[in-house]
């Protein structure tokens, strides 16, 4: 059992060496200068037996504070929504569960069809004409949207509301560095876009105004007003939205958004300590030829039968790569499939119920928590399933004290915004029970007393 975890045996290795005419593996490495090589074996512990290894890994995993064993009020872009059990069964089917997404129409009608259904559902939810097959995550979707707005308008500035997830803003800055797109921030003193400040920044040079709703602080933005502001200057409006909320909240497309992007993790994709996630990307028809990534379309074959194919990507990926405005050539098909199964399972009413429950429980939690002395809502603006609390004790202290009771109380905002050093971002999904919320309030009461 020397090669317990390596697929080929020593006999097979000897055979391969004999076939290519080498005496040993060492023979294959003689061209590498000795000083570039390690002269001793790697300092690895001896291989464990499988039972010992599983025990070891389980012990390691048990040191994690995961949402199965902790009551999770963490959010900030990744949410503890329920993942219905059929999802895992569906994605585990061999036809879907491959390391690489097969796109050949003659061999992959099933895969292409699920992607087409995913696109259709996302387009409906966001109120857009067309959605792509997905991108890596919400942050890269937003960055691609900024590039697309720049290409479509030939303008060099992008105006971002401060309420856009700060991690997303950093990814946007990375993507925009190459083309030299200038980013301009609009403050959010009340937790939402300062419209007067935005009006001064959005002008003839603006490719797009970007708002997130509910934004990073949990507050709901006035998307229609932002659309009016952007369009008056000939700019596009990009809205970052969480599709799980769109069973309740109005589709951004119906409020004037030109591009809707977001993190689709909440649609049946486990939090998995931050990834893989699901980048949602949808746009109006006028922009269809500039949409990055894969796009599945429906067509008819030579016999007139309905079929699915990749479409509209002649420029970006195959014929004119030198002129492409995006170089993303992949999607997260398995996560998109999780979302497709999730949306199909829940249906319109189910998704609406998830949104209603999350919002109602979040408001109940805010009510209970702000009864405690010194605990207040940081912003006066309306929120949905997430809100920013100002605490009388350091949020880091609150975190560690509540973690002892197996409660993850939220995300301290200090690393994201120094002016919010006394704030904790609390998310509440449909999974939280009244008992859990009351226990959170009771535990917090002990810390702030």
């Amino acid at each position: 059992m020397a090669n317990r975890y390596i697929a080929n045996t020593s006999a097979e290795q000897r055979e391969m060496l004999r076939t290519i005419g080498a005496a040993s593996i060492e023979d294959l490495l003689t061209k590498i200068p000795p000083k570039a090589r390690l002269s001793r074996p790697l300092a690895l512990a001896p291989a464990l037996s499988e039972t010992d290894l599983i025990r070891h890994l389980r012990a390691l995993a048990a040191t994690n504070a995961d949402a199965d064993r902790y009551v999770c009020f963490q959010g900030a872009g990744s949410y503890d929504h329920y993942v219905p059990s059929p999802i895992n069964h569906m994605i585990s089917r061999g036809e879907f569960f491959t390391a690489y997404t097969p796109y050949q129409p003659e061999a992959s009608q099933g895969t292409l069809r699920t992607i087409y259904e995913y696109q259709t559902m996302i387009a409906e939810l966001t109120g857009m004409d067309v959605a792509n097959a997905s991108i890596y995550d919400g942050a890269s979707s937003l960055a691609e949207a900024a590039l697309m707005a720049h290409a479509a308008t030939e303008r060099m500035e992008v105006v971002l509301a401060r309420g856009v997830n700060p991690l997303y803003r950093r990814v946007v800055a990375t993507y925009c560095d190459g083309p030299g797109i200038r980013l301009r921030d609009v403050a959010a003193p009340d937790g939402v876009l300062d419209a007067d400040a935005a009006r001064k920044l959005v002008g003839k040079k603006t490719a797009a105004l970007i708002v997130q709703s509910p934004n990073f602080y949990g507050c709901l933005e006035d998307i229609a007003a932002a659309a009016e502001l952007a369009h008056a200057a000939g700019a596009l409006l990009i809205v970052v939205a969480d599709p799980v909320n769109l069973g309740v909240l109005e589709a951004p497309g119906r409020l004037g958004a030109d591009i809707v992007v977001g993190e689709g993790q909440g649609l049946g994709v486990p939090m998995s300590f931050g990834g893989p996630n699901l980048g949602v990307f949808a746009a109006k028809n006028e922009l269809v030829r500039r949409i990055p990534g894969r796009l599945v379309g429906v067509t008819v074959d030579a016999d007139g039968q309905r079929g699915f194919v990749l479409t509209l990507q002649t420029r970006e990926q195959h014929i004119r790569r030198a002129k492409a405005t995006s170089n993303i050539c992949t999607n997260v098909a398995l996560c998109a499939l999780m979302a497709t199964v999730y949306m199909a399972l829940l249906g319109k009413q189910g998704l609406q119920r998830v949104g209603e429950l999350s919002a109602a429980k979040a408001h109940y939690a805010a009510e209970q928590l702000t009864k405690l002395p010194g605990v207040t809502l940081r912003f006066p603006s309306p929120f949905f399933k997430e809100f920013t609390l100002r605490l009388p004790k350091s949020p880091a202290t609150v975190m560690s004290r509540l973690a002892r009771k197996h409660i993850l109380p939220g995300v301290p905002l200090r690393p994201f915004d120094r002016t919010l050093g006394d704030c904790l971002l609390v998310a509440v999904t449909e999974q939280r029970t009244r008992e859990e919320i009351d226990a959170f309030a009771a535990a917090l009461a002990e810390v702030v007393r």
Binding site: T314, R320, K323
Partner: protein, 130 residues
Amino acid sequence: MANVPGDLKYTREHEWAKREGDRVRVGITHFAQEQLGDVVFVELPKVGAKVTAHQAFGVVESVKAVSDLFAPISGEIVEANAELPQKPETVNKDPYGKGWMILVKPSNAAELDQLLTARQYEEFVAQGGH
């Protein structure tokens, strides 16, 4: 074979140019649309944009390929054919008429003289057009 009107000037990239007073109208040739096949999308510059002779001013996409459109002459766009985005097939049906693409106010009208005549373009196409 080729449909090459005698009163137009031509580029080696298969655009035609037609002087109309102090403006120059531009489109692609019958040969070009035939080679491309069914045109499904045309992307044209905005009014007021500057174009430069021999440089790309737009894109034409057919069922077979996506190709750049090259300006026969330098100048400013005074009009772009607003019908093409909705009816790209017009380029196939009437390349020298309703399928025109841009109207340019030239910055140097003498550039027109450097373009191919109808006869030169016919010869160029007869040799393969590359």
